[in-house]
Subunit: 189 residues, 2 copies
Protein backbone atom coordinates (compact mmCIF):
# COMPACT_ATOMS: atom_id res chain seq x y z
CA UNK A 1 0.00 0.00 0.00
CA UNK A 2 1.13 3.54 -0.83
CA UNK A 3 0.79 6.25 1.77
CA UNK A 4 1.01 10.02 1.19
CA UNK A 5 3.32 11.66 3.70
CA UNK A 6 2.75 15.28 2.63
CA UNK A 7 5.17 17.89 1.32
CA UNK A 8 8.36 17.13 3.24
CA UNK A 9 12.12 17.41 2.68
CA UNK A 10 12.75 13.66 2.60
CA UNK A 11 15.40 12.25 0.31
CA UNK A 12 17.74 9.26 0.74
CA UNK A 13 20.64 9.60 1.08
CA UNK A 14 20.81 13.09 2.60
CA UNK A 15 24.41 14.17 3.25
CA UNK A 16 26.20 15.30 6.43
CA UNK A 17 28.42 18.10 5.12
CA UNK A 18 30.59 20.07 7.53
CA UNK A 19 31.17 23.48 5.95
CA UNK A 20 34.26 25.28 7.28
CA UNK A 21 35.00 28.98 6.77
CA UNK A 22 36.99 31.91 8.18
CA UNK A 23 35.43 35.17 9.32
CA UNK A 24 36.94 38.61 8.61
CA UNK A 25 39.32 38.14 11.57
CA UNK A 26 40.32 34.67 10.33
CA UNK A 27 38.55 32.89 13.18
CA UNK A 28 37.51 29.48 11.83
CA UNK A 29 33.93 28.26 12.02
CA UNK A 30 32.14 25.07 10.95
CA UNK A 31 28.49 24.18 10.48
CA UNK A 32 26.56 21.01 9.67
CA UNK A 33 24.70 21.25 6.35
CA UNK A 34 22.25 18.58 5.13
CA UNK A 35 21.01 20.41 2.04
CA UNK A 36 23.61 20.10 -0.73
CA UNK A 37 25.25 18.02 -3.44
CA UNK A 38 27.32 18.10 -6.61
CA UNK A 39 25.73 20.37 -9.25
CA UNK A 40 28.18 20.44 -12.21
CA UNK A 41 30.73 18.02 -13.66
CA UNK A 42 32.74 20.58 -15.70
CA UNK A 43 33.94 22.53 -13.84
CA UNK A 44 33.41 20.32 -10.78
CA UNK A 45 31.00 22.21 -8.51
CA UNK A 46 29.04 21.56 -5.35
CA UNK A 47 26.00 23.44 -4.10
CA UNK A 48 25.09 23.95 -0.47
CA UNK A 49 21.93 25.63 0.82
CA UNK A 50 22.04 27.59 4.06
CA UNK A 51 19.93 30.23 5.78
CA UNK A 52 20.91 33.87 5.36
CA UNK A 53 21.28 34.52 9.12
CA UNK A 54 24.03 31.94 9.57
CA UNK A 55 27.55 32.97 10.57
CA UNK A 56 28.79 30.73 7.75
CA UNK A 57 26.90 32.81 5.18
CA UNK A 58 28.55 36.00 6.45
CA UNK A 59 31.94 34.28 6.27
CA UNK A 60 31.28 33.05 2.74
CA UNK A 61 30.34 36.57 1.59
CA UNK A 62 33.58 37.83 3.17
CA UNK A 63 36.03 35.21 1.91
CA UNK A 64 34.29 33.75 -1.17
CA UNK A 65 35.53 30.35 -0.09
CA UNK A 66 34.62 27.32 2.02
CA UNK A 67 35.56 23.68 2.47
CA UNK A 68 33.25 20.68 2.72
CA UNK A 69 34.51 18.20 5.28
CA UNK A 70 33.18 14.66 5.16
CA UNK A 71 32.85 12.99 8.57
CA UNK A 72 33.51 9.32 9.15
CA UNK A 73 31.43 7.55 11.80
CA UNK A 74 34.29 8.22 14.25
CA UNK A 75 33.74 11.99 13.76
CA UNK A 76 29.98 11.82 14.51
CA UNK A 77 30.04 13.65 17.89
CA UNK A 78 31.92 16.60 16.42
CA UNK A 79 29.84 16.65 13.23
CA UNK A 80 26.62 16.74 15.25
CA UNK A 81 27.95 19.43 17.60
CA UNK A 82 28.67 21.66 14.58
CA UNK A 83 24.90 21.55 13.94
CA UNK A 84 23.94 22.30 17.56
CA UNK A 85 26.03 25.41 18.23
CA UNK A 86 26.27 28.78 16.45
CA UNK A 87 29.60 30.31 15.53
CA UNK A 88 28.15 33.62 16.68
CA UNK A 89 28.22 32.34 20.27
CA UNK A 90 30.88 29.65 20.44
CA UNK A 91 34.28 29.00 18.93
CA UNK A 92 33.48 25.48 17.75
CA UNK A 93 37.07 24.58 16.92
CA UNK A 94 38.22 25.51 20.44
CA UNK A 95 35.33 23.55 22.00
CA UNK A 96 36.02 20.37 20.03
CA UNK A 97 39.79 20.67 19.96
CA UNK A 98 39.77 20.06 16.20
CA UNK A 99 42.41 21.66 14.00
CA UNK A 100 41.46 24.28 11.39
CA UNK A 101 44.13 23.93 8.71
CA UNK A 102 44.33 26.74 6.10
CA UNK A 103 43.77 25.35 2.59
CA UNK A 104 46.48 26.14 0.01
CA UNK A 105 43.97 26.90 -2.74
CA UNK A 106 41.47 29.28 -1.10
CA UNK A 107 41.00 31.38 2.04
CA UNK A 108 39.15 28.75 4.07
CA UNK A 109 40.18 26.11 6.61
CA UNK A 110 39.67 22.37 6.41
CA UNK A 111 39.40 20.05 9.41
CA UNK A 112 42.67 18.21 9.80
CA UNK A 113 41.14 15.31 11.79
CA UNK A 114 38.37 14.56 9.25
CA UNK A 115 39.21 12.00 6.54
CA UNK A 116 38.31 14.08 3.51
CA UNK A 117 37.72 17.67 2.39
CA UNK A 118 36.59 19.48 -0.76
CA UNK A 119 38.31 22.85 -1.22
CA UNK A 120 35.83 25.28 -2.80
CA UNK A 121 35.79 28.76 -4.29
CA UNK A 122 32.39 30.49 -4.42
CA UNK A 123 31.32 31.16 -7.99
CA UNK A 124 27.58 31.84 -7.66
CA UNK A 125 24.85 32.53 -5.10
CA UNK A 126 21.09 32.69 -5.54
CA UNK A 127 17.93 32.30 -3.49
CA UNK A 128 15.28 29.57 -3.31
CA UNK A 129 12.61 29.77 -0.60
CA UNK A 130 14.07 29.83 2.91
CA UNK A 131 17.65 29.16 1.78
CA UNK A 132 20.54 30.76 -0.08
CA UNK A 133 22.09 28.52 -2.73
CA UNK A 134 25.88 28.74 -2.76
CA UNK A 135 27.79 27.12 -5.61
CA UNK A 136 31.45 26.36 -5.00
CA UNK A 137 33.88 25.28 -7.65
CA UNK A 138 35.88 22.33 -6.28
CA UNK A 139 39.53 23.37 -6.63
CA UNK A 140 40.93 20.26 -4.95
CA UNK A 141 39.99 17.21 -2.89
CA UNK A 142 42.14 16.26 0.09
CA UNK A 143 41.93 12.77 1.55
CA UNK A 144 43.69 10.78 4.24
CA UNK A 145 45.78 8.04 2.68
CA UNK A 146 44.14 5.50 4.98
CA UNK A 147 40.75 5.87 3.24
CA UNK A 148 42.21 5.03 -0.17
CA UNK A 149 42.18 1.61 -1.80
CA UNK A 150 45.20 0.10 -3.56
CA UNK A 151 44.23 1.81 -6.83
CA UNK A 152 44.01 5.23 -5.13
CA UNK A 153 40.21 5.44 -5.22
CA UNK A 154 38.16 6.21 -2.12
CA UNK A 155 37.19 2.97 -0.38
CA UNK A 156 33.75 3.23 1.25
CA UNK A 157 34.62 0.49 3.78
CA UNK A 158 37.52 2.66 4.97
CA UNK A 159 35.84 6.08 4.77
CA UNK A 160 32.65 4.88 6.55
CA UNK A 161 30.70 8.11 5.90
CA UNK A 162 27.37 9.10 7.43
CA UNK A 163 24.01 9.68 5.80
CA UNK A 164 21.27 11.69 7.52
CA UNK A 165 17.70 10.41 7.86
CA UNK A 166 15.52 13.56 8.09
CA UNK A 167 12.49 11.46 9.09
CA UNK A 168 14.01 9.89 12.23
CA UNK A 169 16.87 12.46 12.63
CA UNK A 170 19.37 9.62 12.81
CA UNK A 171 22.83 9.25 11.34
CA UNK A 172 23.08 6.14 9.20
CA UNK A 173 26.25 4.30 8.24
CA UNK A 174 27.55 3.63 4.72
CA UNK A 175 30.25 0.97 4.69
CA UNK A 176 29.37 -1.77 2.22
CA UNK A 177 29.33 -1.85 -1.60
CA UNK A 178 26.54 -3.97 -3.06
CA UNK A 179 26.88 -3.46 -6.81
CA UNK A 180 28.79 -1.94 -9.69
CA UNK A 181 27.29 1.03 -11.52
CA UNK A 182 27.09 0.77 -15.34
CA UNK A 183 27.11 -3.05 -15.01
CA UNK A 184 24.10 -4.06 -12.91
CA UNK A 185 21.73 -2.54 -15.47
CA UNK A 186 23.26 -4.41 -18.45
CA UNK A 187 20.72 -7.11 -17.59
CA UNK A 188 18.14 -5.00 -19.46
CA UNK A 189 20.34 -4.00 -22.46
CA UNK B 1 49.13 11.54 5.65
CA UNK B 2 46.96 13.81 3.49
CA UNK B 3 46.89 13.30 -0.25
CA UNK B 4 45.61 15.75 -2.87
CA UNK B 5 43.32 14.02 -5.34
CA UNK B 6 42.75 17.01 -7.65
CA UNK B 7 39.56 18.81 -8.63
CA UNK B 8 36.99 16.00 -8.72
CA UNK B 9 33.24 15.59 -8.09
CA UNK B 10 33.64 13.44 -4.98
CA UNK B 11 31.20 13.77 -2.14
CA UNK B 12 29.83 11.19 0.31
CA UNK B 13 27.03 10.31 0.26
CA UNK B 14 26.12 10.95 -3.39
CA UNK B 15 22.49 10.04 -4.14
CA UNK B 16 20.93 7.65 -6.66
CA UNK B 17 17.86 9.60 -7.80
CA UNK B 18 15.60 8.18 -10.48
CA UNK B 19 13.91 11.12 -12.17
CA UNK B 20 10.67 10.23 -13.96
CA UNK B 21 8.88 12.44 -16.49
CA UNK B 22 6.39 12.37 -19.38
CA UNK B 23 7.14 13.67 -22.84
CA UNK B 24 4.68 15.70 -24.95
CA UNK B 25 2.95 12.45 -26.01
CA UNK B 26 2.76 11.27 -22.37
CA UNK B 27 5.33 8.52 -22.90
CA UNK B 28 7.05 8.01 -19.54
CA UNK B 29 10.83 8.18 -19.16
CA UNK B 30 13.25 7.76 -16.27
CA UNK B 31 16.91 8.65 -15.78
CA UNK B 32 19.49 8.08 -13.05
CA UNK B 33 20.73 11.36 -11.54
CA UNK B 34 23.61 11.53 -9.06
CA UNK B 35 23.84 15.33 -8.84
CA UNK B 36 21.10 16.66 -6.59
CA UNK B 37 19.70 17.21 -3.12
CA UNK B 38 17.27 19.22 -1.00
CA UNK B 39 17.80 22.98 -1.45
CA UNK B 40 15.06 24.70 0.58
CA UNK B 41 13.07 23.84 3.71
CA UNK B 42 10.17 26.31 3.17
CA UNK B 43 8.76 25.58 0.68
CA UNK B 44 10.29 22.09 0.56
CA UNK B 45 12.39 21.97 -2.64
CA UNK B 46 14.87 19.63 -4.26
CA UNK B 47 17.43 20.50 -6.91
CA UNK B 48 18.66 18.14 -9.60
CA UNK B 49 21.41 18.88 -12.13
CA UNK B 50 21.21 17.35 -15.59
CA UNK B 51 22.75 17.99 -19.00
CA UNK B 52 20.76 20.04 -21.49
CA UNK B 53 20.76 17.31 -24.18
CA UNK B 54 18.90 14.80 -22.02
CA UNK B 55 15.42 13.62 -22.95
CA UNK B 56 14.45 14.30 -19.34
CA UNK B 57 15.32 17.98 -19.72
CA UNK B 58 13.07 18.27 -22.78
CA UNK B 59 10.28 16.55 -20.83
CA UNK B 60 10.75 18.87 -17.86
CA UNK B 61 10.53 21.94 -20.11
CA UNK B 62 7.33 20.50 -21.58
CA UNK B 63 5.54 19.42 -18.42
CA UNK B 64 7.16 21.55 -15.67
CA UNK B 65 7.05 18.48 -13.45
CA UNK B 66 9.02 15.41 -12.40
CA UNK B 67 9.18 12.82 -9.67
CA UNK B 68 12.23 11.61 -7.75
CA UNK B 69 12.06 7.88 -7.13
CA UNK B 70 14.28 6.42 -4.42
CA UNK B 71 15.51 2.90 -5.16
CA UNK B 72 15.95 0.26 -2.50
CA UNK B 73 18.79 -2.24 -2.96
CA UNK B 74 16.24 -4.60 -4.55
CA UNK B 75 15.68 -2.01 -7.33
CA UNK B 76 19.40 -1.67 -8.16
CA UNK B 77 19.33 -3.38 -11.60
CA UNK B 78 16.51 -1.12 -12.81
CA UNK B 79 18.04 2.00 -11.25
CA UNK B 80 21.36 1.32 -12.96
CA UNK B 81 19.70 0.56 -16.31
CA UNK B 82 17.99 3.98 -16.19
CA UNK B 83 21.51 5.46 -16.26
CA UNK B 84 22.73 3.24 -19.12
CA UNK B 85 19.99 3.83 -21.70
CA UNK B 86 18.59 7.00 -23.29
CA UNK B 87 14.87 7.67 -23.48
CA UNK B 88 15.53 8.95 -27.00
CA UNK B 89 16.31 5.38 -28.09
CA UNK B 90 14.53 3.05 -25.70
CA UNK B 91 11.25 2.99 -23.79
CA UNK B 92 12.80 2.23 -20.43
CA UNK B 93 9.52 1.43 -18.72
CA UNK B 94 8.67 -1.18 -21.38
CA UNK B 95 12.17 -2.70 -21.15
CA UNK B 96 12.11 -3.04 -17.35
CA UNK B 97 8.43 -3.87 -17.04
CA UNK B 98 8.08 -1.21 -14.33
CA UNK B 99 4.80 0.70 -13.94
CA UNK B 100 4.64 4.46 -14.60
CA UNK B 101 1.81 5.68 -12.38
CA UNK B 102 0.51 9.23 -13.02
CA UNK B 103 0.93 11.41 -9.94
CA UNK B 104 -2.22 13.14 -8.64
CA UNK B 105 -0.44 16.44 -7.97
CA UNK B 106 1.55 17.09 -11.18
CA UNK B 107 1.86 15.89 -14.78
CA UNK B 108 4.61 13.33 -14.14
CA UNK B 109 4.70 9.60 -13.40
CA UNK B 110 6.17 7.86 -10.38
CA UNK B 111 7.47 4.29 -10.36
CA UNK B 112 4.90 2.09 -8.66
CA UNK B 113 7.43 -0.65 -7.76
CA UNK B 114 9.93 1.71 -6.04
CA UNK B 115 9.44 2.23 -2.29
CA UNK B 116 9.32 6.03 -2.27
CA UNK B 117 8.76 9.02 -4.55
CA UNK B 118 8.88 12.82 -4.28
CA UNK B 119 6.27 14.55 -6.44
CA UNK B 120 7.75 17.79 -7.78
CA UNK B 121 6.63 20.88 -9.66
CA UNK B 122 9.39 22.85 -11.42
CA UNK B 123 9.73 26.36 -10.00
CA UNK B 124 13.16 27.47 -11.27
CA UNK B 125 15.93 26.55 -13.70
CA UNK B 126 19.41 28.01 -14.09
CA UNK B 127 22.80 27.01 -15.43
CA UNK B 128 26.10 26.11 -13.75
CA UNK B 129 28.96 24.78 -15.87
CA UNK B 130 28.03 21.65 -17.81
CA UNK B 131 24.66 21.20 -16.09
CA UNK B 132 21.21 22.77 -15.86
CA UNK B 133 19.98 23.22 -12.31
CA UNK B 134 16.31 22.35 -11.94
CA UNK B 135 14.53 23.21 -8.70
CA UNK B 136 11.34 21.31 -7.95
CA UNK B 137 8.95 22.17 -5.16
CA UNK B 138 8.03 18.93 -3.38
CA UNK B 139 4.22 18.80 -3.49
CA UNK B 140 3.97 15.39 -1.82
CA UNK B 141 5.98 12.35 -0.75
CA UNK B 142 4.60 8.88 -1.45
CA UNK B 143 5.95 5.87 0.43
CA UNK B 144 5.18 2.18 0.66
CA UNK B 145 3.71 1.36 4.06
CA UNK B 146 6.29 -1.40 4.47
CA UNK B 147 9.19 1.11 4.74
CA UNK B 148 7.55 2.96 7.64
CA UNK B 149 8.28 2.40 11.32
CA UNK B 150 5.57 2.14 13.96
CA UNK B 151 5.56 5.94 14.41
CA UNK B 152 5.09 6.51 10.66
CA UNK B 153 8.64 7.74 10.01
CA UNK B 154 10.81 6.25 7.28
CA UNK B 155 12.86 3.36 8.70
CA UNK B 156 16.28 3.14 7.05
CA UNK B 157 16.55 -0.60 7.84
CA UNK B 158 13.37 -1.15 5.81
CA UNK B 159 14.02 1.34 2.99
CA UNK B 160 17.64 0.13 2.44
CA UNK B 161 18.51 2.94 0.00
CA UNK B 162 21.62 3.17 -2.17
CA UNK B 163 24.45 5.69 -2.13
CA UNK B 164 26.75 6.15 -5.14
CA UNK B 165 30.54 6.16 -4.81
CA UNK B 166 31.81 8.28 -7.75
CA UNK B 167 35.39 7.15 -7.10
CA UNK B 168 34.81 3.40 -7.49
CA UNK B 169 31.46 3.72 -9.37
CA UNK B 170 29.86 1.34 -6.88
CA UNK B 171 26.46 1.37 -5.24
CA UNK B 172 26.77 1.31 -1.47
CA UNK B 173 24.11 0.21 1.00
CA UNK B 174 22.56 2.27 3.80
CA UNK B 175 20.71 0.10 6.31
CA UNK B 176 21.95 0.83 9.82
CA UNK B 177 21.49 3.83 12.15
CA UNK B 178 24.50 4.60 14.31
CA UNK B 179 23.52 7.76 16.17
CA UNK B 180 20.88 10.35 16.93
CA UNK B 181 21.25 13.84 15.45
CA UNK B 182 20.99 16.78 17.90
CA UNK B 183 22.03 14.43 20.73
CA UNK B 184 25.49 13.03 19.87
CA UNK B 185 26.98 16.53 19.86
CA UNK B 186 25.60 17.46 23.30
CA UNK B 187 28.88 15.99 24.57
CA UNK B 188 30.48 19.34 23.64
CA UNK B 189 27.70 21.66 24.93
Amino acid sequence: MKKKLGAQTLVYPTPVLIVATYDADNTPNAMNVAWGGICSSVPPCIQISIREDRKTYQNILEKKAFTINIPSVSNMKEADYFGLASGKEENKFLKTGLTAQKADEVDAPYIEEFPMALICEVIQTSSVGSHIQIVGEIKNVIANEDILGEDGSIAIAKLKPLSFNPSTTTYDLISESVGQAFQEGMYYK
